[in-house]
Amino acid sequence: METLHLLAGGIAGALQPTNLLFAFLGCVIGTIVGILPGIGPVAGTAILIPLTASLDPTAAIIMLSAIYYGAMYGGTLTSVLVNVPGEAASAITCLDGYAMAKQGRAGAALTIAAIGSFIGGSIATMGLVWLALPISSVALRFGPPEFFALMVVGLSLVTGLASTSLVRALLSATFGLMVAMVGVDPVVGGQRFTFGQVDLLDGINVVSVAMGLFGIGEILLIAETKAVQVLDAKIRTLMPTKQDWQDSWAPILRGTGIGFFIGLIPGIGAVVPTIISYVAEKRLSRTPEKFGTGMIAGVAGPETANNAYSNASLVPLFTLGIPGSPTVAIIMGAFMMNGLVPGPLLFQEHSDLVWTVIASLFVGNVILVILNLPLIPLWVMILKAPQSVLCTLILAFCVLGAYTLSGSAFDIIVMALFGVLGYLFRKLDIPLAPMVLTVILGPMMEKALRQSLEISRGSFEIFFTRPISVALLGVAAVFLIASTLRLASAVRGDDSEV
């Protein structure tokens, strides 16, 4: 009951005009940041940090948090409408979201995503309220071996992203792993595949890869056709149908759970929960073969997961002082600039501020949904623009976005190359998602593996003596065995090419 009392105080604080205004501003800026490709929530919040220095600390933190989860929704818009992920956490939404837009169902996809985001964000915030302190210690049990095991689970999902052929999915995934190897080795500092290029020392930026594969690749494909309109289909309906709702509620709930629990583990990033959610929906679907052709579950699940993730990832910050993602690290910077140190003492020393910020997460999620739902018809209008104008604009924004990543033309080149690759992959019917997955997971998995082995002095026993690690590896094994069995039966059953 004390929690409720504190939360009520927080809500009163969050509803004060100034705080409300900054939550609103944050949602607007976040949506814009999400829409602009390349400028993700990290850059968006970082640019505004100096501005927040002159604000009241509560207002500043409310605004920065709003930008963070606002961007998660903004990224959906471009993924669905033009197949360009506004930020990495929306990359997977391209698969079915854009397919839906092509069928004239962009409005439905965006509405479901907005409502899913709202539900995911709100439930995760409730989790933050009631579970924050008890579960925060669980997050700490995630050391490098557990991390590695979780990445193995992620990798075992690759087969779930296959559409027609397992071999093609594995080819795509392996190529992604090769891309992930580029850069300085994390343990001895040796250079791998850098060809003496200082730009390659940090490896290849996954955002340039995703923008290239999905965005530029799509533009190249459109350039082939003679159609004047990107979409032949009329914009049939803006609202989801009854069937859409029926198909979405379960993915939304599962996405909430996946996003929330992964958000508690520091350092995983917003992309992993979206991929896990997508694959889970595909696995659980009665029509997995239809994924990639405009299944609303493939939008509802991941889009919910990334918002639940971004709200939940504030738990380790508030309770342990651990910034779980780069954006959260910047929000932590805002705390520290105001003389507040996130961590175990924050709840005791600055209880008013913490509860106001938590309450503002609820308020912000409401603002976001109010802000976005009426705008959906407007966004969908974008699709009515002539193809020549639209493609040129997308290209311009992609180039701008890639340049912004690190202020160098190098990322534009990377994006262009992966654009050509994305085009070729589509022509060869090789799926893009497995590659994006391994480009993201590869470096994280390698680091976790090598850190674990440094801790154990080279012994692999470390992965089998820790309960969480064993359990996760078990899950991965089940996934692999299940998909192998499915594959085997497919070989026996019909003319599979494997």
């Binding site: 990290v42 850059a43 919040t45 970082a46 640019i47 940090i49 100096p50 700490l140 049990r141 995630f142 050391g143 490098p144 300085v184 994390p186 343990v187 001895v188 500092g189 040796g190 250079q191 003496g196 200082v198 730009d199 020392l201 940090d202 520091p266 350092g267 342990l320 002082g321 651990i322 910034p323 780069p326 690290a329 910047i330 910077g333 520290m336 600039m337 105001n338 003389g339 140190v341 996130p342 961590g343 175990p344 003492l345 690190s406 202020g407 160098s408 680091k447 850190q451 440094e454 801790i455 002095r457």
Partner: protein, 323 residues
């Protein structure tokens, strides 16, 4: 292609030299902005301090000072570009010691510069390194830790922010002065290395002062020693490593550099401006809030400190590579 490129180049050349001719007489050229490169991502510690500095410099110099983030390769990317720019004082960069030293002393990295390619302007602040353990650790003092490492070489795990980062260098120096070997575990940045100690996945944390402050206050960490020549106001009651008999002096020392060949009078103008900004009460207060200690050094002291770090760490890097 060439036909297009050439006129553009001429245009560039036509625009540039005008500024060079008058720069010595009047620096900074009125109306010409100064680019202050931050070789790390926006929002980090260097970035926050740089933006504070840029605002102060604008007032001092009367020209716009633009902070430009060029992250990549632990600042090697931006510094490689800086040494190629015109040394007219209008392009400056932040540099962090000893990180820069590791760029060119590590043969694997092969950086296109050494100390001689830079003109130090002023050192702005120090963030000394520390070693910390969990409060209940079996190694309550630095001496106990070293004794344990002697008994079990290469088995006590220490987390750090990454290979050859400031915390890792601290471990290397301690290994040398104490004649022991630890098992270093490299993480990707300071935060995950702190988490590793909190979760008990490693036994010791090598970090910098801000990494340890809050967990020490919360009673979770015990800081074994500060790798500085003086104690810190942020860590009351913690002794320096030197006072405990281990001569380890390592800090992330952050300052502003220009390309070599920058005229002396230009350097003087910049150094004086930086000095004034560091000394202002407002900046002092804000720097303290960022958890770092301002420490000004003029170009000569900065260069001497740089060379001293190079002499200290060079042999260690060589030994590490020879393994």
């Amino acid at each position: 292609m060439h036909r297009i490129a050439c006129p553009a180049l001429y245009l560039l050349l036509a625009l540039l030299p005008g500024a060079a001719d008058v720069e010595a007489a009047t620096f900074p050229t009125p109306g010409t902005p100064i680019q202050l490169i931050v070789p790390y991502a926006a929002g980090g510690s260097v970035d926050s301090n740089a933006r504070l500095m840029a605002a102060g410099l604008e007032k001092q110099l009367g020209v716009p000072v633009q902070v430009v983030n060029k992250p990549g390769a632990a600042s090697q990317l931006a510094l490689s570009q800086l040494v190629k720019t015109r040394p007219n004082g209008h392009t400056l960069s932040y540099a962090v010691l000893p990180t820069v030293v590791t760029h060119y002393l590590d043969p694997e990295r092969d950086a296109p510069y050494t100390r001689k390619n830079f003109q130090p302007i002023a050192l702005q602040y120090h963030v000394p390194a520390v070693l910390a353990v969990q409060t209940a650790s079996p190694y309550p003092t630095l001496r106990d830790l070293v004794a344990a490492a002697k008994a079990k070489p290469e088995s006590i795990t220490i987390s750090d922010s990454g290979l050859l980062g400031t915390p890792h260098m601290t471990v290397l120096v301690l290994e040398q002065v104490a004649g022991v070997r630890f098992a270093s575990v490299h993480f990707d940045g300071g935060a995950p290395s702190v988490t590793a100690l909190l979760g008990g996945h490693v036994e010791v944390l090598a970090g910098t002062i801000p990494d340890a402050v809050q967990n020490m206050k919360a009673g979770k960490f015990r800081v074994l020693g500060i790798a500085d020549d003086r104690t810190s106001e942020f860590l009351p009651g913690v002794e320096t490593m030197r006072s405990q008999g281990y001569d380890v002096l390592i800090a992330s020392s952050t300052g502003i550099v220009a390309p070599a060949g920058t005229p002396k009078d230009v350097v003087d103008v910049l150094t004086n401006a930086v000095k004034t900004v560091i000394a202002s009460e407002e900046v002092k207060k804000r720097t303290y809030e960022f958890g770092v200690t301002p420490r000004y050094m003029n170009p000569d002291e900065y260069a001497a400190y740089w060379e001293q770090q190079e002499a200290r760490l060079g042999p260690l890097l060589k030994a590490l590579r020879a393994k």
